[in-house]
């Protein structure tokens, strides 16, 4: 075992990160598995993104721990004694940083193992994707290196708590709406990991995008190298350390540039699923009042979704313009001219279903969402249908959407709608059916007004 390796072993065994290890695992596990726990289906690509997300908590925390560790010699009055030793200080720094980073990586692995465990409960579909997992791991190492640099340059007790805050908010800011359309968003590991290329369950319909792993690796290795070289330069200036700094800057700049260029590329840009190749899949279906079909990955949700759809469409079943089939389709909602109602099995999508039932939908195609412009009488029937499955949360969400469109006339319109929903609900089922038989086509076409309601 070489001297540096032995130093590393001692540093790892006695690293301050050991004391923070339970906190690191908890933070990483919570940050990555929170949403997974609430999901009833598991998709390995999605789990991969969640594993990577642990880094969003771990990288800043490791930065803080590393900043604290880097200030150790100053706090402990070790500088004089260490200055008399011949081994180059950067080797000592590398051993200390390596020991810290290894604990960070172990915490990352532990959090990831928890994500895998959570996913395994739901018989996951597909295969793990390496890219977000590797990006997350690199982010943890980079966070530790940046923190170590900060703690070396400013060995103050104030720095360790500041580093996690700065790192977290920098990653968060670059991933936020402020930079949604800006290529610099790709410089945040958060963006690289969370990008719906991996994170959105609907990506099951599409081929994986071209990998940005090499670009991400360059970008995240860059700051790590810069931080280590800067620490070495701080200890002692030499041609080697200047060279290492220069190489690291070039690597980081190359990675950053290629990532930002990738953002502009329609194949690799943020949220650009629709330009990607669709992957053929055979849906799994269940026969209820109409056939209900979902992508095989969502089979565990099929029965529950079919029951809800049954309830919602039962009043209009068989009417002209009513759905004859419900199916999960990639990034579309609404109803096709052939009577296929699109559904989103993950979120239940009562809002989307009810809206599609009361309005002739614009021919749906690939895209985020259909745009609905409901009239109040359509709104009344949509809410009445949604209430059949006690979808109060969805009704609320829907009303918020409607309110934001209705603007100043919101309150009187809403009162009228509430009264009309109550009146319609009070009718006997036969009367409701009779009204719908007589008016359903006009309702969907927007040819009625509130006075036409019972």
């Amino acid at each position: 075992m070489t001297g540096t390796l032995r130093l590393f072993t001692i540093e790892w065994r006695r690293s301050v990160a050991l004391w923070f290890f339970p906190l690191l695992v908890l933070a990483g596990g919570w940050f990555s598995a929170d949403l997974l726990l609430s999901m009833k289906v598991a998709i390995w690509a999605n789990t991969s993104a969640h594993i990577g997300l642990a880094a969003i908590a771990l990288a800043p925390l490791m930065g803080g721990v590393a900043a604290w560790a880097a200030g150790r010699d100053q706090r402990r009055g070790m500088r004089d004694l260490l200055a008399t030793t011949p081994r180059p200080a950067p080797q000592r720094d590398l051993a200390a940083l390596g020991g810290l980073a290894l604990w960070g990586m172990l915490a990352y692995v532990a959090a990831g193992a928890y994500d895998v465990f959570v996913s395994l409960r739901n018989d996951p579909w597909g295969a793990l994707v390496a890219e977000p997992i590797v990006v997350g791991l690199l982010a943890v190492i980079a966070g530790a290196a940046i923190g170590y640099l900060a703690g070396t340059l400013v060995p103050s007790r104030l720095v360790p708590p500041l580093v996690p805050i700065v790192l977290f908010f920098t990653m968060g800011l670059l991933n936020s709406g402020w930079f949604w359309d800006d290529p610099v968003t790709n410089l945040s590991p958060w963006t690289l990991i969370e990008d719906a290329r991996f994170g959105n369950p609907n990506t099951v319909f599409y081929a994986h995008p071209p990998s940005l792993l090499l670009e991400s690796l360059l970008w995240l290795a860059g700051p790590t190298g810069v931080a280590i070289a800067a620490v070495a330069l701080y200890r002692r200036r030499s041609l080697i350390t200047w060279g290492a700094l220069a190489v690291s800057v070039v690597v980081a700049a190359t990675g950053a540039t290629t990532l930002m260029l990738a953002f502009e590329n329609p194949n690799t840009g943020r949220g650009q699923w629709e330009t990607r190749e669709l992957v053929a899949s055979t849906p799994v279906c269940i026969e209820r009042s109409i056939p209900v079909c979902v992508h095989p990955a969502f089979e565990p949700l099929l029965a529950e979704n079919a029951s809800q759809i049954d309830l919602v469409i039962e009043p209009v079943l068989g009417l002209s313009g009513a759905p004859v089939r419900a199916e999960q389709l990639p990034f579309a909602n609404g109803m096709y001219a052939n009577g296929t109602l699109t559904i989103d099995p993950i979120f239940g999508d009562v809002e989307g279903v009810t809206l599609a039932l009361v309005q002739d939908s614009v021919a749906p195609g690939p895209g985020w969402n259909m745009q609905y412009h409901l009239q109040p009488e359509q709104d009344v029937i949509a809410i009445w249908l949604a209430r059949r499955i006690d979808a109060s949360a969805f009704e609320h969400s829907y009303r918020m959407t409607f309110d934001s469109v209705a603007g100043p006339i919101r309150d009187p319109v809403q009162d009228d709608i509430d009264a009309a929903v109550a009146r319609f609900n009070a009718l006997a089922p036969a009367e409701q059916r009779a009204w719908l038989e007589a008016n359903y086509a006009d309702l969907r076409a927007g040819r009625l007004d509130m006075d036409d309601l019972p």
Binding site: G3, V16, L81
Partner: protein, 249 residues
Amino acid sequence: MAVNVDVQGLTQRFGRTTVLDGLDLRVGTGVFGLLGPNGAGKTTLLRTLATIVPPKQGRLRLLGHDPGRDHERRLLRRRLGYLPQHLGYYPNFTVFEFVEYFALLKEMPNDEVRPAVARAVARVGLEERGRSKLKTLSGGMLRRVGIAQAIVNEPDLLLLDEPTAGLDPEQRVIFRELLREIGTDATVIVSTHLVEDVAAACTEVALLNAGRIAFRGTPDELTTLGDGYAIGDSPLERGYSRALAGARA
């Protein structure tokens, strides 16, 4: 006798304060005691010899190396042992780990590290506490850990700043014996306020005052200097006091 420490015209200043003032010193094998009042420049001299601070002026050759040159300084440091006045330590390291850590930092050959660590820890009488964490040790034990890390590489130049501070009488006796043993092959420079350490362990002694050497000789010569002088409880203390008074006059 080989001259391991060769200092000529050494000057150290911190701001406007001159701490060492054109100091000349040549020391060979043996235990060399460095006495002097507070602020005389003892610690600064040791820190300079330990290559922590480069001299402002003057020439320095240690173990035949010029510490101003990178490569030579690195070679020199491999053969150097240093115990600072205030020993810092990593509280979660065990005794063995701390001493091994410094053996590795001193670039000892890998296969020699473990035996050297065991030997150094045994020489300061801490074998039974070898696996104890430093934070659990008493002040005197920590001082012995500091000595162990200083001697782990069996240095040719050992610089000790107040090494016996905090040691109990029994340990001081053992420590002086250790100094005498190391001093048979190496140069040991001990800065101390305790004249009994000098009397018991040193082959030569210098009295530093205001950055200059006020006296240099054997402990016996310093003792003789104090004959008939009133200030001091022991013969050596009287010699120390007379030499200091002469320098100040």
